[in-house]
């Protein structure tokens, strides 16, 4: 197989004495959508956050094993540089209490020296990529005045504005209504032609709709990882089958 975009090798993670990820090994390819599913508390978010070193912010978190981005150990480069290439969208929409424009421009201003018109161009491009531009006549308005669904798509625009090569999404639709959810899903499907997308979800239908590959996690272990259709139709592991049946029933 060709080089993987993201890779974890025998990854263990502890929060204090709590063993949260147990010997997780996973290889995530580029230009595909990979879904992480599993019961609440099984470590999906924790695994996702390993890939852009979000655990650095938590002094309690201890990591063992290797995490690779494009074949390179992520702990060898600077966290800030890594995070520009591995963007993240959080479970709860978290726009900055600033204008819509400033939100999207934030990452661009950090990493690139752009003229005013270049900046404007890129901000608008990101907003239209997130299908937001038509809904937002005034980019100077506060981002906090948007609806939850709009806020989440703004956060996606903010993340894609810096053109990362990976997008990590932690239950991006959990706070959204069906229509906004549908919009975000369409967006994910579009993004996959340029990005490697990893999405955590509790919604099995969503995993089926958007993902090419699905990983099932249970109690901190990666139980099964295969093509989405195969995992849902004929899972090889009993835990996976039980979970899928339970959550469908």
């Amino acid at each position: 197989m060709s080089q993987m975009k993201l890779e974890a090798k025998g990854l263990d993670l502890f929060f204090g004495a709590k063993h949260v990820l147990k010997k997780v090994s996973i290889r995530i390819p580029d230009k595909q959508v990979t879904a992480l599913i599993g019961p609440s508390g099984c470590g999906k978010s924790t695994l996702l956050r390993c890939f852009n070193r979000m655990h650095d912010l938590n002094p309690m978190a201890k990591l063992k094993g290797d995490v690779l981005f494009e074949g390179q150990d992520i702990h060898l480069s600077k966290a800030a540089e890594l995070r520009q290439k591995v963007g993240m969208v959080f479970q709860k929409p978290n726009p900055f209490p600033q204008s819509i424009f400033d939100n999207v421009a934030y990452g661009l201003r950090l990493s690139q020296k752009l003229t005013k018109s270049e900046l404007e161009y890129k901000v608008k491009a990101a907003l239209s990529q997130a299908h937001l531009i038509d809904e937002l006549p005034d980019l100077k308005a506060s981002a906090m005045e948007l609806s939850g669904g709009q806020q989440q798509r703004l956060c996606i625009a903010r993340a894609v504005a810096v053109s990362p090569s990976v997008l990590l999404m932690d239950e991006p639709c959990s706070a959204l209504d069906p229509i906004s959810t549908r919009k975000v899903e369409e967006l994910v499907l579009q993004l996959k032609s340029d990005y490697c997308v990893v999405i955590v979800t509790h919604n099995m239908q969503q995993a089926k709709r958007v993902s090419d590959l699905t990983a099932f996690m249970y109690m901190g272990e990666l139980i099964e990882f295969s093509e989405t259709r195969q995992l849902f139709d004929k899972a090889s592991h009993e835990l996976t089958r039980n979970y899928l049946e339970g959550s469908f029933g």
């Binding site: 959080f90 978290n94 209490p97 990493s111 506060s142």
Partner: protein, 292 residues
């Protein structure tokens, strides 16, 4: 029964709120009425714009408060110019940057600073800061507006630091997470996300510090020299509104013009505080509106 208790409680609480408003109004009225008596003999214009304050003169006493007003503004502005940046920087350092060790060391120290009686601070101003200023700035005396500003800065700092720290801490972690997630570092996150997110809190804490500085008497009285002159800068000796009241009220006969003049000064001070509070509220409200 439950209903009646509820109504009774509501009534009691309303009565308490009302009484505090009444007391405040009473104080304000007393100040205003006594102060207004001055204007039977001195015009408001002369009072507010007169450069000379000399109520004791036998031949034509003067009641021009402008130099007192300017002194107060000078000392207060000086204090705020030092205390606001310093206080916010300290608060940011303590809540976002410092390792726990430093925070645990600084926090009690700052609380200690808040507990120092103003007389003691004034003493430090006289014995330490005054001579230092005199020596290193080459002044004839260290008792000037700058000395007062430095001490007021010290007095306002604990308020500004602890309230700013609270405001900074109240910024949701999700904002910081988003910032780090976009490739920002510690400092960029602090300056571009965290501090802007709590602007209203920072303004409120600065204004409370300002209020403290404006009304403070003892320290200022001890170190500013109290010369009756129009100050031209921070190196000049100044006499503030509060100092004037404290110095003169003891020796003035009640019912005289001088007595009423001091009440007019007090009313002025009261109005200044009121204006600052209203302005602070307005500014803070504007920022709150933009954020939520």
């Amino acid at each position: 029964m439950r209903d009646r208790v509820n109504r009774l409680m509501a009534l009691i609480i309303q009565a308490c709120a009302l009484s505090s408003v009444l007391v405040l109004m009473g104080i304000f009225l007393m100040l205003l009425i006594n102060g207004a008596m001055l204007f039977k003999e001195v015009s408001v214009f002369d009072f507010l714009t007169g450069m000379t304050w000399n109520p004791g003169a036998f031949d034509g006493p003067a009641y021009g408060a402008l130099s007192l007003i300017w002194s107060t503004i000078l000392v207060t502005i000086g204090a705020m110019l030092m205390a606001i940046p310093l206080g916010i920087a300290m608060a940011a350092f303590m809540s976002e940057v410092a390792p726990r060790f430093w925070r645990n060391l600084l926090k009690p120290l700052i609380e200690l600073l808040a507990g120092i009686p103003s007389v003691v601070l004034g003493f430090i101003g006289i014995e330490l800061i005054g001579p230092l200023l005199q020596k290193y700035l080459g002044l004839s005396t260290g008792f000037n507006a700058l000395n007062g500003s430095i001490l007021l800065c010290l007095m306002a700092l604990p308020t500004i630091i602890s309230l700013s720290e609270e405001a900074i801490r109240a910024v949701p972690f999700s904002f910081k997470e988003a910032s780090y997630g976009l490739g920002a570092g510690k400092w960029e996150t602090l300056i571009k996300v965290t501090l802007p997110a709590c602007t209203s809190g920072l303004i409120a804490s600065s204004m409370l510090g300002l209020g403290r500085a404006l009304g403070e008497t003892m320290t200022v009285l001890m170190v500013t020299g109290n010369a009756l002159q129009f100050p031209h800068g921070f190196y000049d000796s100044v006499r503030t509104l509060t100092s004037t009241i404290a110095i003169e009220l003891g020796e003035v006969a009640s019912g005289t013009t001088h007595y009423f003049a001091l009440f007019a000064v007090a009313s002025l001070l009261f109005c200044l505080c009121l204006i600052i509070n209203i302005a602070a509220e307005a500014i803070a409200a504007k920022f709150r509106y933009r954020q939520t």
